[in-house]
């Protein structure tokens, strides 16, 4: 369970999040939609302490993480996996080493054979085969994104955070990634928060959708409830999604 309680976040004079409150029950797939620069990624990074809120509380499994030190955050981060906007794979390591990296850190009891097996399973899960020995720069951007997803799920996180997982990808790969998010969330029974501006995808796989604008939540609800929203921004998103469906 994740709970945001009146969370504010400023960078200097500029306030990005202006008193955000919402809860995410366990096992839910929550989409956070909004235009660029509305604080979606900032919101996600606050959950795992990569950024600290200016005020308010963020409760993850009963612990307020807002004021935790870097060391105190480690067990919280251990429960979470994050897929970043960039693939964020380590340039100097092969795809295999990238996926095995977190495993070796978090599960030192695994022997080399078990690590190899787990990495193969994770790469299989994201439909990546035969790239184990390649460096990230030797495979396509879409494949890098999928490898990043494999690295994230390799450590069995209970909470999955996706920061615009399909940005910069072609429609086919976008659909594949979205399907993957849905399947992973259901298969691994994780709580998933997906930051996106893809309403089409949100309507298809989200349990609930939150729409952010200028640091505020302007609307939220199930996909069906949101389809009836009268908020102009939500209507714009819906129009875009319907035109995508039509084409």
């Amino acid at each position: 369970m994740i709970s945001f309680q009146n969370v504010r976040k400023s960078f200097g004079e500029r306030e990005i999040l202006k008193g955000i409150s919402f809860d995410v029950p366990e096992g839910e797939i929550l989409f956070i939609l909004g235009t660029s620069g509305t604080g979606k990624s900032v919101l996600l990074k606050n959950i795992v302490g990569l950024l600290k809120p200016t005020s308010g509380a963020i409760v993850v499994d009963g612990q307020d993480v807002a004021n935790m030190s870097e060391e105190q955050m480690f067990p919280v981060r251990r429960k979470c996996g994050m897929v970043f906007q960039h693939p964020a794979l380590f340039d100097s390591l092969s795809i295999f080493e990238n996926v095995a990296f977190g495993l070796r850190k978090h599960q030192p009891e695994l022997d080399e054979e078990q690590v190899r097996e787990r990495v193969a399973r994770c790469l299989n899960l994201v439909q990546l085969k035969g790239v184990e020995n390649k460096l990230p720069q030797e495979i396509s951007y879409g494949m890098q994104k999928r490898a990043s997803l494999a690295r994230t799920v390799a450590v069995n996180p209970r909470i999955l955070l996706f920061d615009e997982p399909t940005t910069g990808l072609d429609p086919v790969t976008t659909n594949a990634i979205n399907q993957l998010i849905f399947e992973l969330s259901r298969k691994l029974k994780t709580t998933s928060l997906v930051v996106s501006h893809d309403m089409h995808c949100a309507l298809a796989i989200a349990d609930r959708i939150i729409v952010l604008d200028k640091g505020h939540i302007v609307d939220q609800g199930t996909p069906d409830a949101l389809k009836k929203s009268s908020h102009p921004l939500v209507r714009d998103f819906l129009k875009e999604a319907l035109s995508a469906e039509g084409s």
Binding site: R77, R78, M82, F84, A88, L89, G102
Partner: protein, 245 residues
């Protein structure tokens, strides 16, 4: 002021992590190879020319002012050991290694690799700064030692070929002005300057703003600040060492 406060916190963290085992020896050795072995050719090439210029200019001006350049070997050796060898090596190391580190860490920052490390429970300071810090201290020490010896050799060669001093005369003149402790102090300077480079470069890398411009700015700032820090530290160390003569 915020940057100074941030740097102080980062410096203390880096030092704390440096003195906390275990160490990733493989990583330290590969960094040491990058810092010292790969920098050696360019540093030796440049310091050799600096030594040649130093001895020739000293001779020219001494002849002009006192009509005699008999003290040139001693003065040149003094200048090389106390300043030239260590400082020029460090400044070259800054432009080669420091710029590379700032760009590398900066790119990792903007492509969220640093955040990915933190998410995997790995401290970026421990993972990135510590091996580079230790490698640069050792590399700075070794490069300063080798650069000074090569500088002296070049000065000796030029004094023989161009100024007419035999190697024996050069070494005798040199011994009158410099001592073994000068070489020790030069290597201490080299190690200290070496320590500055990764600390400053990684700091600017961590603070890198997104985009190519951000990485460029981080790189430029790291080279400028490292160079200034080296010059200031050179003054401080020279002042401290002057109490030992």
């Amino acid at each position: 002021m915020t940057a100074v406060a941030d740097f102080s916190v980062y410096l203390l963290r880096s030092l704390k992590e440096t003195f906390t085992p275990p160490y990733r020896y493989k990583d330290i050795m590969s960094q040491l190879e990058f810092v010292s072995w790969q920098s050696l050719p360019v540093i030796l090439f440049c310091v050799s020319f600096a030594a040649i210029v130093t001895i020739m200019e000293s001779s020219f001006h001494m002849k002009l002012v006192v009509q005699n350049d008999a003290l040139v070997p001693g003065f040149a050796a003094l200048l090389i050991l106390r300043e030239l060898g260590a400082v020029i090596s460090a400044l070259l190391l800054t432009s080669r290694v420091g710029a590379g580190l700032a760009a590398e860490v900066g790119s990792m920052q903007v492509t969220e690799q640093i955040d990915a490390l933190r998410m995997l429970g790995i401290d970026p300071v421990r993972f990135l700064v510590v091996p580079r810090f230790l490698a640069c201290i050792a590399g700075g020490f070794l490069l300063s030692l080798i650069a000074n010896l090569v500088c002296l050799y070049c000065a000796m060669l030029v004094s023989e070929l161009s100024l007419g001093y035999s190697p024996g005369a050069f070494l005798t003149g040199m011994r009158a002005f410099v001592d073994f402790q000068d070489l020790i102090f030069a290597t201490i300077k080299g190690a200290t300057f070496g320590a500055v480079i990764p600390l400053v470069s990684c700091f600017f890398g961590f603070r890198c703003k997104s985009g190519a411009e951000g990485v460029g700015l981080a790189t430029t700032n790291s080279v400028v600040v490292s160079s200034v820090a080296i010059i200031v530290l050179d003054f401080v160390l020279t002042y401290i060492f002057s109490h030992f003569y």
